[in-house]
Structures are given as C-alpha cells and as structure tokens.
Subunit: 321 residues, 2 copies
C-alpha cells in the first residue's frame, strides 16, 4: 500500500523550537517542542531535531514529502540563517544544506513572519486571497507580504521587513541600529516604551505609576486600559495611530485586500483595533478607502508557527507528484 | 508578403498627448503629439487619436499587434481612467473599451509611472532586472514597482503610489486631500515649497529672496545651487533626505536591486544624488546595505513616455504569435 504523504513544519524561535507533522490540508498529526538553547552547536541541534522528526515519521508509517522551516533572518534564496540577533548561534548558518542532508527531501526555509503569511493563505484568514500583508505584533514587528499569490522575497530574499520602516526620523532607538522604526512604537515592547513616556507627559492618575518600569508589559497595559486607565488608553491610541500610518503606507505600496494581525499585541483585540480603524480612516488615501480589511489571524496561537512552516513546505512541494 | 508587426504607445498627459509606433525592440518608427485639451468630449478625443494612428499604420504598411496607453489614474484591471485631477474630463472614462472598438486589437492601459517602469525594464536602465522601483520626480511623484519581473497592481490595480506615502503625519497639505505625503517634499513642486520655507528660516544671503514666490521653480533653485547659494543647497539636501527615507522604507518592503529616477527634479543630477546617497547610507537598514543602486533613467526624455506605453503593449501582446 502506498504511504500517506505528510509535511514537516519547523519553527525555530529564540526560546522554543516547535515542530509538527501535517497532512496536505494542514491537519496536525503529531507535534512537539523543546528549548532552542538546549544545544550550543548548530549542527548537533540540526541533527537531533531532524532525527526526532524522522523517527516520528517512521513510527507513523507515512512518507515525508517536504520540510518547511521558519526561523529569524532565514533567507529563502540562500537557505541560511544570517546573523540572527536572538539565536545563540552566530554568523551565517547553513540551515537548508544541513537539513536536506538529514531529511533527504526538499527543505524550504524563510523567516517566521513569511511562514506565518503562508499559513494564513493556506489555512487561515487569507484563504483565497492573492494580495495581503501579515503583521506579527510581538516583541518586534514581523511581516510577510503576498502579492499576486506569491510571497515577496525581492532581490535579496529579505523583502517584507515592515517592522523596520522608519516612522519618525531621529525617533526611538531600534534594535536594528537605526532610529524611529515601526517596531519601536507598535509592538509589545513599543507600547511599554510609549506608556513610560506618557506617564512622564500626562498628569492623569494611573495605577501603573506604582510599578517599576521594568515590570510594565503590554498585558498589564491592556488590563489597565480595560479598566479605563487614561494613560493605558492613550498608549493604545498612539500605538494604533503609528500602526495606522504604517498600514496606509503599505496600502499605497502593494494595495492588499487585507492586513492580517497576529502576535501578543494583537491579542488586545478591540483595545487596538477600534482606534486603529479610526486612524486608518483618517490617514487612508481616498482611492484606497474601503479597498481592504484589517482582520485577526485565523489560526490558533498554539499551532500558527507549525502551520506556517508546514504551509511553506506544502506550497513548495505539495503540488508535485 | 507578411506585414511587419508594430506596437502603438500612447501617453495621455494633462498638457500633451504623445503617441508613437515602434517595433518589438523599441525602435520608434513614427511619432507625434498634440494638446490634450484640443477636445472637450472624451469619445471624440479617443476617436481622433485612434484614427490618426490607424492612418499612420496603414501608410507605413505595417500590422498593429497591440496598443499600450499610459494615463493619469488609469487602472490596468478596469481599463478606465478614474477621476484624474489633471485631465479636463471628469469621472470614470472607459478608455480601454473605447480604444479597443477603434483599434480592433488588444489595448492595455495603466498609469504613466507604471508604463515608465516597463519602458525601463524593456529598453532602459532596468534591462535584465526582476526587482526594481521607478520613481518619476516631476510636478508630483509617480512610481512603478516591479517585483519578480512583474508590475505590482495589487488588489485594486492602483498599487505603487509611493508619491503618497506619508512622511510626516500632519505635514504639508497634499493634492490628494491628506497631509505630509512624499510628493509634497521630494518633487519639483516640493523643492519650491521647501525653498520658500528655508528662505523664512535661514538668514543666509540668497538671490532667490529677490524673486516672487510664484516665480520660483526647481530649475531656478538648481541654477542657484550650482552657484553655491546656501539656501538652494539646503533645499536639495532636505529634498534628498526625505527621498532617502522613502527609498529606504521602500527597500525594506520589496528589496529591489535598483531605484530608477526620472523626471524634472532628477535632471538636477548630482545636486540631488550626492546628498541622496549620503542620506541613504545613514538611513538604510544594515541587512540591505549595498544591495541596491540608485540610477538615472536609461531613456531619452523626449521618447520615454512613448516607449513606456509601447513597452506595456509589447509586454502584454509581444509574446503572442
């Protein structure tokens, strides 16, 4: 009897590495995760990860048709992870080459936000869409841009870094070495910075004044905003305004039919989306008014990273055979 | 004997309408132009334009294989010109439908900056490139974005309006009804506005103080900058800085291998490009450093619009047969 074809989706993050085995429809058959820092040597890490997955494939009695890997700074063209600041391995890591040796099947790599966009296109909120932008509002801001049904990689393979559009020349210091990038404003860390600044600028009462700045988090700010804290509400308003300008600028660039939001800050829901819609309405160029929607991710948080990486494998190899 | 195949390129501008007949290599066989305002009725305008070209095709004894038309606010998908502010005809104009009735061959329309980008790709500075951005720095700022060898049209057909990315929230009033758009800073009109502002802010001597503001032009500012006028030099520096931020933001979006500049302001040459390169170097995200070039148009000014529109026809119909 012919074995059922499956795909492996792997998400290498700064803290955890998650992997799953799915069928072509995105149904997860098996999954697991472990600490990324468990191995200091990248080739040992790759070896252990691949042999764990291959054992599971054998146990399930299925055939591995392709592997997709999402990782910070992973380049679709070269297959390498290039100088990822939040991984413990330095320099250029030959991720695809190492993994293809182990898996003996096609391995495709890209960064985590690009993989997330493919996950939405195949299994989530962007099913049937040919033009959309995925924004992951976490510690930083990641993005994956789909134009005409394909992920935008550009000349270098690094296209789609909307977290690093400059919103304010000479603005807040960014981890990328520059100033005023979107992710210094409209991320989970950005809203904490905004709140610290507003606590200095505003005179309003706020229970957040009793917290040491190092204990502020986007979650605490959201909890305070829910209770009507004026500083927390203004922090969401400002965060949403910066995001609205970035979104309206992205719309004049590629004219998507949807902007899909995911990540910790997006889970604040209406606290973010109500002021966001208002500001988009104020800033949008008239010809694009009503031409796109802002919608939440259609994937469960726990599986989104695995499904994104599996979608990468499926979109590259699923049509073969 | 089989007739030689040719293509018609038509550029409908606010002032002039130019047309030309080219072979598939972009060699112009015949061309002419007339005042766009010569006809108040759009269908009469279309009729006269098409019959003039068809007569020329007959005279030349060639076969018309396709027609491309560049016009302000022309939509590739619908084939209509939509509410073009600088044309005398109002509302939605069924350009493609009218023209296909007359020409009896495939007619393709898009906006002038998109056509210019195709002209560069087939016959100009972008030959052999798959990822680049064309910026036309004229009265306004137009753009055409090519990703993976194709023009970006997006969900609406209006993608690629980089003249309307918001550079400064609450900034200068723009013709689009919003504030702070790139074209209010880095266009021929933008540098005049900047110079007026600098004449108020700076105390430096400048012979431009003797001119009524309505007589200032990008050309006069360039002439003064050539002579070392400090206000004119600072105007170019500021114009270049705003353009550099917009370019570096476009680079994180689509990672092009080149930015191609054309239009009146681009003709200032090194006055613009020397400070532009400096500011790009300051603002570029490290991962994209050295990944793209800023280069001038490769087409002669007099023929660029015709060649762009002809390239549109050739890219749509040239591969048939």
């Amino acid at each position: 009897m012919k074995k059922a074809k499956v795909f492996a989706g792997i998400d290498i993050g700064g803290t955890n590495t998650a992997w799953g085995i799915t069928d072509i429809s995105g149904k997860i058959i098996s999954k697991s995760s472990f600490k990324t820092r468990s191995q200091n040597d990248f080739s040992v890490f790759s070896s252990e990860l691949s042999s764990t997955i291959l054992k599971e494939v054998e146990k399930l009695g299925v055939e591995l048709a392709g592997v997709g890997i999402g990782a910070p700074n992973a380049n679709y063209y070269t297959g390498n992870i290039e100088q990822a600041a939040n991984l413990q391995w330095e320099g250029s890591l030959p991720l695809r080459t190492l993994m293809e040796e182990k898996f003996k099947t096609k391995v495709t790599v890209t960064n985590d936000a690009n993989a997330a966009a493919l996950g939405e296109m195949l299994f989530g909120s962007a099913r049937g869409m040919k033009n959309f932008i995925m924004l992951t509002l976490g510690t930083g801001v990641g993005s994956g841009i789909v134009c005409d049904g394909k992920l935008l990689y550009g000349h270098t393979g690094f296209a789609g870094e909307l977290g690093h559009v400059i919103m304010v020349a000479g603005g807040r210091e960014c981890g990328c070495g520059r100033e005023g990038c979107l992710e210094t404003y409209s991320s989970a860390v950005g809203i904490v910075r905004t709140t610290s600044q507003l606590l200095a600028e505003m005179r309003a009462e706020s229970s957040m004044r009793k917290l040491p700045p190092s204990e502020l988090s986007s979650r605490i700010i959201a909890q305070n905003a829910e209770k009507g804290d004026p500083v927390a509400l203004e922090a969401f308003n400002f965060t949403a305004e910066m995001l609205a300008i970035a979104i309206t600028n992205a719309v004049v660039f590629s004219s998507p039919e949807a902007i899909i939001l995911s990540g910790g800050l997006a889970r604040a829901g209406k606290l973010l989306t109500v002021p966001l819609e208002k500001h988009i309405n104020d800033y949008i160029m008239p010809v694009f008014r009503g031409s796109f929607r802002v919608i939440p991710t259609g994937l469960p948080e726990s599986d989104a990273a695995i499904l994104g990486s599996a979608a990468l494998a499926i979109s590259e190899t699923g049509k073969l055979d």
